[in-house]
């Protein structure tokens, strides 16, 4: 009997609170296990032995870890609003690395570092001196590994897939996979492959990502097109973008369908709310949930707020940015900290666990989402699911989410953002009317809906 192999590499590796890709893989794996669907098996890829079968117990353990929503505050909350020094950055990197270790090991590792800090400094200095040699060795190792992967054949190792099986992946394969290898396996064995496209933003807007990310995505999506018998896209916009890109580079264009992602935040019986979040909840605030990076366009809100302040408007609601600072925003974060015009107007919260996020949505005056480009725009869906009105960018996939329930603004138009924010600040009845409409007409996509759509696309 043919089997469906769900690649769970990403959730097995992931050690931080779930992001969109991880949530999708985890939720579908959870659905398969909960529904006890015997047609499904699980597999994991590693660079040395290729694909291996993974037991349901292993997958369940990973799902438990992800749903427990472990969040390690690597820096005291006060520091999240300050630009980091080199020393702080190094400290943060070390703590990030420690957070990848099993929780039970972490205290003893930190204790060891504190006891031997001087010795470690000397070792670090020596290591830096030989960093080029070390880098060379690492490069040699990976080159050898890549060669091994390319040359590995289905005959050489025990691959669990058989002819007629279906391979399904919705993980971060651009980081954890090797599609050239998967392609050669597929040619040899003859299984069917169903793969995911979240977005092609690094290709479409490479200036908003690191160089190497864009390059990696070009090759990744080209190879994906050669492998996939079907590609599941998370929005019409992503489908359109991918179709255009594949046509441009001359790759084959496999059948594509759209699968909407769920927008439910996990519930937990007991919620621990930090003092910082408690403080926010006591005020009137506008919420923007997103990693802080240039593409998300926090800057337009900052400028709109400045405009309102300079026009003499006071008692503006607190603007709350929930998300991790990403690449290329150091200057922007410094502006937030040092611009006296917006002191007390904007608050950045990092490392917010899902239950706290749910609370923040529920108590928000309304939400904003001025992103320059999206493959989907989950925070808009989350806002609507929480019954909250959202003032959003009109670009890319965002209008697909809420239709007329959301008000759209050109993400570059600062004046428009300033005027519409002010209008809603001064018209709470309108915000309430919008909320009533949302609560009566918006049907949130559940993760079960998403799983059923994926199953439907597999045509089992």
């Amino acid at each position: 009997m043919s089997r469906v192999w769900l690649d769970v590499t990403s959730i097995l590796i992931w050690m931080r609170p779930a992001v969109g890709v991880i949530r999708t893989e985890a939720e579908f794996a959870n659905y398969v296990i909960s529904s006890n669907d015997e047609r499904f098996s699980f597999c994991q890829f590693d660079g040395v032995s290729g694909f291996n079968e993974v037991t349901r117990e292993t997958v369940c353990a990973a799902l438990d870890r992800i749903s427990s929503n472990v969040s390690i505050n690597t820096l005291p909350p006060a520091l999240t609003n300050l630009p980091l020094t080199t020393k702080d950055k190094t400290k943060k990197k070390i703590l990030d690395l420690i957070s990848l270790l099993p929780i039970s090991f972490q205290p003893s590792v930190i204790g060891f570092i504190l006891r031997h800090v001087q010795l470690l400094k000397v070792i670090l200095a020596k290591l830096l001196k030989i960093r080029f040699f070390a880098l060379w060795l690492i490069q040699k190792y990976f080159a050898k590994l890549a060669k091994l992967q390319f040359e590995t054949t289905a005959d050489a190792v025990d691959i669990p897939f058989r002819k007629g099986d279906v391979y399904l992946s919705m993980g971060a394969d651009w980081n954890h996979g090797d599609l050239s290898y998967l392609y050669s396996l597929k040619r040899q064995i003859g299984f069917k492959a169903v793969l995911f496209c979240y977005d092609i933003i690094p290709i479409k807007l490479p200036h908003l990502t690191l160089d190497w990310v864009a390059e990696r995505f070009v090759r990744y999506f080209c190879n994906l097109a050669w492998i996939a018998d079907e590609i599941l896209c998370i929005s019409e916009c992503s489908r359109r973008d991918l179709d255009g890109f594949l046509n441009e580079i001359g790759a084959p264009v496999p059948p594509m369908s759209v699968v909407k992602l769920g927008c439910q935040l996990p519930t937990m019986a007991e919620i621990t709310v930090s003092a910082e979040v408690q403080q926010v909840l006591q005020q009137r605030y506008v919420l923007f949930v997103s990693t802080i990076e240039r593409r998300k366009n926090h800057e337009v809100l900052y400028r709109a707020y400045i405009r309102l302040v300079e026009q003499g408007h006071s008692n503006l609601p607190l603007l709350v940015f929930v998300g991790m600072p990403g690449w290329g925003v150091n200057d922007f974060l410094a502006d937030l900290n040092y611009d006296p015009r917006i002191t007390g107007c904007i608050k950045v919260l990092n490392h917010i666990a899902d239950p706290e996020l749910r609370l923040l949505y529920n108590h928000a005056y309304f939400t904003v989402f001025p992103s320059l480009y999206e493959g989907w725009g989950l925070p808009v869906a989350e806002s609507l699911a929480a019954g909250k009105f959202c003032l959003a960018s009109d670009s890319a996939s965002i209008p697909e989410i809420g239709g007329e329930l959301v008000e759209y603004i050109d993400p570059w138009d600062i004046n428009k953002w300033a005027s519409r924010l002010l209008w809603y600040f001064n018209n709470p009845d309108e915000v309430l009317k919008r909320e009533i409409l949302i609560k009566s007409s918006y049907r949130p996509t559940t993760w079960t809906d998403t799983s059923l759509e994926i199953l439907n696309a597999l045509k089992l």
Binding site: V218, E248, I249
Partner: protein, 409 residues
């Protein structure tokens, strides 16, 4: 006594590598097969060839020669034109004169560059009865203009006009002109060529040892791949990437576009300037210049040949090779100039834009490998591509003008 043909060229042809040398080597053979004695003088780029590649009478064109100056500058990409100036100058001609055979029935000038040298030879009383033949490889002036303009040389138009005048003069003065395509024939006839004959490019059948084939099959992809073989002649790489939409995404992850010949580095440079350069690098395999044995093995292993030619005159010398292979051939319309009658063969895909190139490449790479015996019906058509068949017209036409000359004595 055998009639004597003196071949004048700007390159030697004892060890042919690029298209022009290959054609000329086969022309020389065709004269010999037609019962004529062949002598040759090449005024070649000093330092450009190893000793074994040179003929006994060949003359180097020194790199420091004053004849390399053009309008006061040491001009690039026109050494062919300057070779003719040097050869016809008093300095150069005194060397040429010493190397002339006692008797010359016909001077075959391959391309117009050394036409001024031929003119000086027939001014000598000994060679007053010698007849002149122009071997055209393409219409040179427009091609040179295109190449020089692409490099932004200030002298592009002045030089091209001079070449145009030289070419027309050679065409009118020649007793016989050989052209490589029908369209070139028409141009040369319109210029006033007395007798213009079509002598198309062809191929020499290739063979490779099984050991070589085994060796190369280990180095090349095990899945179907395509081959492009060319020299570093600018039309062979200019716009190559553009022709393929700047992307090799039409090649599967385990396939490659294999490049052989001195064009390899130029193709890599072409693709490195594209937006999708990392993807493109992952689909390229560069072999550079190979020995005849190695190249034969690579050609035998190719699933198909790619001919994305958008520039250049005459006909592409690699086109008949690709057609003769029996493997798939995917090429631009221009690549089939002079070979239009072969465009309907089952293995040929003529494309007009990047999208058609991509589609054809995907289709061909997914198709089963063709073997020569798989479709015997095109056997005679393929056999007609050999140099022997295509150049047989040359000794016949030259014998005719020799007979006419002797009859008029």
């Amino acid at each position: 006594m055998k009639p004597v043909v003196l071949i004048l060229s700007t390159y030697p042809f004892a060890e042919p590598r690029h298209g022009g040398q290959v054609r000329l080597a086969n022309i020389a053979q065709s004269y010999q097969k037609g019962g004529m004695q062949v002598e040759s003088i090449a005024i070649y780029q000093a330092g450009g060839y190893r000793l074994s590649a040179l003929g006994k009478c060949d003359i180097p064109f020194p790199t420091t020669s004053a004849y390399r100056n053009y309008c006061g500058t040491n001009a690039a990409l026109i050494s062919d034109l300057q070779s003719g100036r040097y050869g016809a100058s008093d300095d150069g001609f005194k060397i040429v004169k010493k190397r002339l055979p006692n008797k010359i029935d016909v001077i075959h000038v391959e391309q117009p560059w050394l036409w001024p040298v031929a003119q000086r030879i027939i001014e000598l009383p000994t060679y007053a009865q010698t007849r002149l033949v122009l071997g055209s490889q393409n219409i040179e002036a427009p091609l040179k203009r295109q190449i020089l303009h692409s490099q932004d040389y200030s002298y592009a138009d002045v030089v091209s006009d001079e070449i145009d005048a030289l070419e027309k003069e050679a065409c009118v003065q020649a007793d016989l002109v050989f052209a490589v395509t029908q369209s070139d024939c028409e141009v040369l006839q319109n210029w006033g060529g007395k007798k213009v004959i079509l002598a198309e490019n062809g191929i020499s059948p290739w063979y490779a040892d099984q050991s070589k084939i085994d060796e190369w099959s280990k180095k090349l992809p095990s899945t179907p791949w395509l081959l492009y073989v060319a020299s570093a002649h600018p039309p062979n790489y200019q716009s190559f990437a553009e022709c393929l939409g700047n992307s090799l995404g039409c090649f599967p992850p385990d396939s490659r576009l294999v490049i052989a010949g001195s064009v390899s580095d130029y193709i890599q440079r072409e693709f490195s300037g594209t937006r999708w350069h990392t993807l493109n690098s992952s689909r390229l395999q560069l072999l550079n210049v190979l020995s005849d044995q190695d190249l034969a093995a690579v050609k035998i292993l190719a699933h198909g040949f790619l001919l994305p030619i958008t520039h250049g005159g005459g006909s592409n010398i690699k086109t008949p090779e690709a057609l003769y292979s029996g493997a798939y051939v995917i090429g631009s319309e221009l690549a089939f100039r002079g070979f239009e009658v072969y465009a309907d063969m089952a293995q040929v895909r003529v494309t007009r834009n990047p999208t058609q190139f991509h589609e054809s490449i995907r289709e061909v790479l997914a198709a089963s490998r063709r073997t020569v015996s798989a479709d015997e019906s095109d056997g005679p058509q393929r056999a007609s591509l050999t140099w022997d068949v295509r150049l047989a017209v040359i000794p016949a036409a030259v014998s005719e003008i020799i007979r006419t000359t002797e009859a008029n004595k």
